[in-house]
């Protein structure tokens, strides 16, 4: 089998780890070798036979264990689909399309790298941090959220970078938005970010004003995940592009964000 092809495969749940009432990590394994997976790529999960979660659910790849043919997903419960998947048990199978999307550009000459994750947007950043470590880069990692309970998996991230934390209510780390965090003032030559749209735009603005190269991972609504339906577009300087195939990762200089 050409291992670089996308697949639609029944994967086996090998672990469903509950982080707290809102978050869980799903570990899925294939019976065959995994295709090559890039940091920032995502999967589309099929929640079968439920009335409201009709389409697949896109979820970023959180971590990969190539030696076990498995990968992990970090999921926040926000609606019916994510709720139903939280009930999956070890041994269950779930049909998964993967790996999808372009992934982060990790061929970079930058050394002072900052990863900014907002809420569950931190998901694609762990595997990214790992990949950067492989290249000898230990990034700074800024985790932001509304409150303490939105800041999760710190232990895991700590292995691959220096952790900074901000919460809107100040219950953990510095109080305020990620863009107000003091780490933003340090010397940085590349930012990778994923989180709520307003947060990413604010980060993009700072990067733009400081002339820092910045990649963002967008989370548009998707129907197909493979560039067939044209539902997930974002407006770029070259017109509408599909977040599922041209993204989810875009360099902010491709987007129309900083055009006044």
């Amino acid at each position: 089998m050409n291992t670089d092809k996308k697949r639609a495969e029944d994967l086996t749940v090998v672990e469903n780890r509950k982080i707290n009432k809102d978050y869980y990590v799903l570990k899925l394994a294939s019976k065959t070798d995994l295709p090559k997976i890039k940091a920032g790529q995502f999967v589309e999960l099929l929640v079968e036979d439920t009335r409201n979660a009709f389409l697949r659910r896109p979820i970023s790849i959180y971590d990969v264990q190539p030696e076990c043919n498995s990968f992990e997903l970090l999921i926040q419960i926000v609606g019916e689909g994510t709720q139903l998947m939280s009930q999956l048990q070890t041994g269950d199978t779930i049909n998964t399309m993967y790996p999808l999307g372009n992934g982060f550009q990790t061929e970079t000459k930058s050394k002072n790298i900052l990863l900014v994750g907002g809420g569950v947007g931190l998901a694609p950043l762990l595997y990214l941090a790992k990949k950067l470590n492989d290249k000898g880069i230990r990034p700074k990692i800024l985790l932001g959220g509304r409150a303490e309970n939105n800041i999760i998996e710190i232990d895991n991230f700590e292995k691959y970078g220096d952790i900074f934390i901000s919460t809107e209510d100040g219950s953990l780390g510095e109080k305020g938005f990620v863009t107000q965090h003091s780490v933003m003032n340090e010397s940085i030559d590349k930012i990778y970010t994923c989180g709520p749209d307003p947060m990413m735009r604010a980060v993009g603005d700072i990067a733009f004003s400081k002339n820092i190269d910045c990649e963002v991972s967008l989370e548009n609504m998707m129907a197909c995940g493979i560039g067939a339906c044209l539902c997930c577009v974002t407006d770029t300087k070259e017109g509408h592009k599909c977040v599922c195939t041209d993204g989810p990762v875009f360099n902010t200089n491709e987007l129309k964000w900083n055009i006044a």
Binding site: L55, N95, N220, M221, M222, I226, A228, C229
Partner: protein
Amino acid sequence: MDLNTRIKIGGLDLKNPVMTASGTFGYGPEFEDFIDINRLGGIVVKGTTLHHREGNAYPRMAETPSGMLNAVGLQNKGVDVFCKDIYPSIKHYDTNILVNVSGSTVEEYIETAARINELDHIPGIELNISCPNVKEGGMAFGTSCPSAVAVTHAVREVYKKTMVVKLSPNVTNIAEIAKAVQDVGADGVSLINTLLGIAVDAETRKPLLSTITGGLSGPAVKPVALRMVWQVSKAVNIPIIGMGGIMNATDAIEFMLAGASAIQVGTANFIDPTVSMKIVDGIEDYMRRHGVTDVNDLIGAMIED
């Protein structure tokens, strides 16, 4: 058991009745990792217009009970880019490639169809007079007999291969429109395009689509689609390509029993990119199980007493 699964639609010779629906299958390559496209009866590529179109603003999609709304708005690079860049990369497919042709004016339809007419490996077009997601043209042509006739007749003059007209379900009497386009030279009709719908978020009070209205597809519409196929089958004698909510082989058979000669799989491709193959196989299983040797025997075979 020797099975015949071939179906004829105008000049098209389909190896089986299973096609993929315009706007849900890209141009084909998107699905190459998942299925063998050459096993399909045909594919209908994305709605194509004379000029490049950016489509509607995001958001363009909303989930609804057993279905979805879309408001893509015919985003495509225009017929010339299709002919120059896309066609060469898909013309080798050993299946019937139909181009879904759309326009804001009759002239645009004519011009687009004329250019497609020049492509050797495109045996037919699907004339889309039913797109609900564009401001001008589109569905407006498909919701009255005179305008449906006008565009069909005009395109027939320039397009020499198989021309299937895709009908809008947002009408009082779809059979009448089917009959009218048959009378001016359609080789077949395909139905249904999407039903016009709205979704709104009660919390934000905003519509979920940038265009407010969009097109409903998926299993939710299947009963309406089946009814329209059945009504049209009583009114015309050209072949019908049925679609609307087909998720599996059983659904496909239902459309054939109601009067369709072939079927298209749309939204289901998003839920399972391999579903079209399963439907090809499932129709054969059904035929074996029921001792049907020729798939043509299923067309309109609903027992009505």
